[in-house]
């Protein structure tokens, strides 16, 4: 490649990088800018009037911590239940022959295509009847309804590449089916399990629709809904909203940062 070409590529990448990264930069910058300075011209790209005021207000004057906690419970619950359910279902699909297996597998993927809103309203009626609105269980189940189909599909694919003879070796060594699954199959399908965990987290953490419709009690709001309520009720306190946005992205960032190695190897295994 010639020097000009590589320079052009570099310039193009730089433009893309700026487009992608600038909102994040602006978010972080605004979150540290005092309220009164935020809308005072001139609007500069670099500011030095650093302040933790927005964060202080967010953490102590609002229910942010409560929302954060709710989101965390829902996300952790969704991760744990998704991993268990998707693992068992995926394993069952790979290792057992049963009537209607193919339709089940395709139905699973098909149900993933429904928009959340289409399911949220029936769920509202159902959960009202079961008195499961404004509960963590209800929210976690709702989140599983959108993430589990793809997760089952994912684990199904992963278990197909784990040789059956590994399990048979475990069985003839005396291991029960469940022990063989845990000790022999799962380690081989670890990238799949991590993909399931991350996908479940992302869907739960970012979900607005289900939380908005099912969690009507302000005490049970998750972050996306809670943040939206900031916008409506207190006028728009942009500095604080930006501070909240920063804190919301921290868990996502940490998760991806620490698991990217496994995620990438997982992508290679499926691709």
């Amino acid at each position: 490649m010639s020097r000009v070409q590589s320079l052009a590529t570099f310039a193009l990448l730089l433009v893309v990088l700026i487009v992608v990264a600038f909102p994040f930069y602006w978010m972080v910058l605004s979150s540290f800018t005092p309220r009164e300075a935020l809308f005072q011209p001139p609007y500069r790209f670099f500011r030095l009037d650093f302040s933790l005021g927005n964060y202080r207000e967010l953490l102590f004057a609002t229910e942010f911590v409560r929302f954060f906690f709710n989101s965390l419970i829902a996300a952790v619950g969704a991760i744990v239940l998704n991993v268990i359910a998707a693992t068992l279902a995926g394993y069952g699909l790979t290792r057992f022959a049963f009537a209607g297996k193919k339709p089940f597998a395709f139905g699973t993927l098909f149900s993933y295509m429904f928009p959340p809103m289409l399911m949220a309203i029936p769920l509202y009626i159902l959960f009202s009847a079961l008195q499961m609105r404004n509960t963590y269980t209800g929210l976690i189940l709702a989140h599983m309804a959108i993430s589990l189909p793809l997760n089952i599909w994912l684990m199904w694919q992963y278990f197909q590449i784990v040789p059956l003879s590994l399990e048979e070796a475990a069985w003839t060594s005396g291991a029960s089916r469940l022990a063989a699954l845990r000790q022999v199959c799962l380690p081989s399908a670890r990238p799949g399990v991590l993909s399931v965990a991350i996908f479940s987290f992302a869907l739960s953490w970012n979900d607005f629709t289900f939380a908005f419709i099912l969690q009507t009690d302000r005490h049970m709001f998750t972050l996306p809904v809670g943040l939206a309520s900031f916008v409506e009720q207190t006028g728009v306190h942009w500095g604080m909203v930006m501070a909240a946005a920063v804190l919301v992205s921290v868990p996502t960032f940490l998760l991806v940062f620490f698991l990217q190695r496994y995620l990438l190897s997982g992508l290679r295994a499926t691709g």
């Binding site: 048979e168 070796a169 069985w171 005396g174 291991a175 380690p187």
Partner: protein, 369 residues
Amino acid sequence: MAFAVRLEHLDKRFGRGARAVHAVHDLSLDIGEREFFTFVGPSGCGKTTTLRMIAGLEAPTSGRIWFGDTDVTALPPQKRDIAMVFQDVALFPYMTVHDNIGYPLRIAGLPRTQVTEKVEKVAATLGLSDKLGQKPGQLSGGQQQRVAIGRAIIKEPKVLLMDEPLSALDARLRVEMRTEILRLHRELSATIVYVTHDQVEAMTMSTRVAVMDQGRTLQIDPPRVIFRRPADMTVATFIGTPAMNVIPVAVVTTPSGLAIELLGRRVPVAPRHHAALQGLERVEAGIRPQGLRLVPPGPDRITGRVFLREPLGLEDEVLVETADGTRVKAVTAAGDEFGEGAAVGLDLAPRDLCLFHPDSRITICNSLD
């Protein structure tokens, strides 16, 4: 004979209807205590299916399996006193060699120190002592297979099942591991049930061999008997290298009794076989390449021309084309006077000839004497 494993009218079908595969036909046999019993046959003959049924990995369609006086037909593999070595080794890639070998004991709930103690002992007999900390991926093929064998023998199973354990290894290692497995069989007091498509493995290692083809068991006998007195033409041609020559011959009546017309030469059949040949005009005659001797051509001999000569070292394999165009294989001393293209005579002893029924392929006699 006290038996370790008894198979009773074992039958296995895969699938249903028109596409069903009848993998094992009505198989009944006893495997003795401490026996080295081998199932041999071409791929798809049902030998691995049979082994998997003994292991409990496959359920028979009908029939029963006994371990001693326990009916294990309905028991899962975990509840049978077995261990198995797999064709593709099947080591757990995420565990060290130590953990792989010790896995059956850890499953059985033995304390860690005892597991380590036994693992070290097994590793020592298999020459793996310095590999215990490594992962299977870091080992050579032969070492991996040794680890798999270690994992199988550590819990001292009553029946050790081996499914083509050497087929993934190169020729040299295969011979080495053959000796190793024989040594283990002598040291352990286990019954070994072994599956292979390699007749040399079957013949050299086993106390008894079952030859299978297309789901049917053709013969169950010690290797020597299988070689000397094959039950039918399939067994005769499958066992032995190079393969037995089979030539269609006419049965003729001579003043001195019955004889066969073999490649232009008349070979008399001893009177004790006459009854079996009654009513047959044509039969198949078999002779092993080792039974044919190359001699100078002359009258009263089968004559032909050396078509191809393959040096094997001490001996050469020679393909001879006889006057009527039939090609037969013979084994002769390396570099004797009959080069390619040379005219040659073939000498044979009537006791080396065997006859098979042309339709049922069953052996009529294993010697014309």
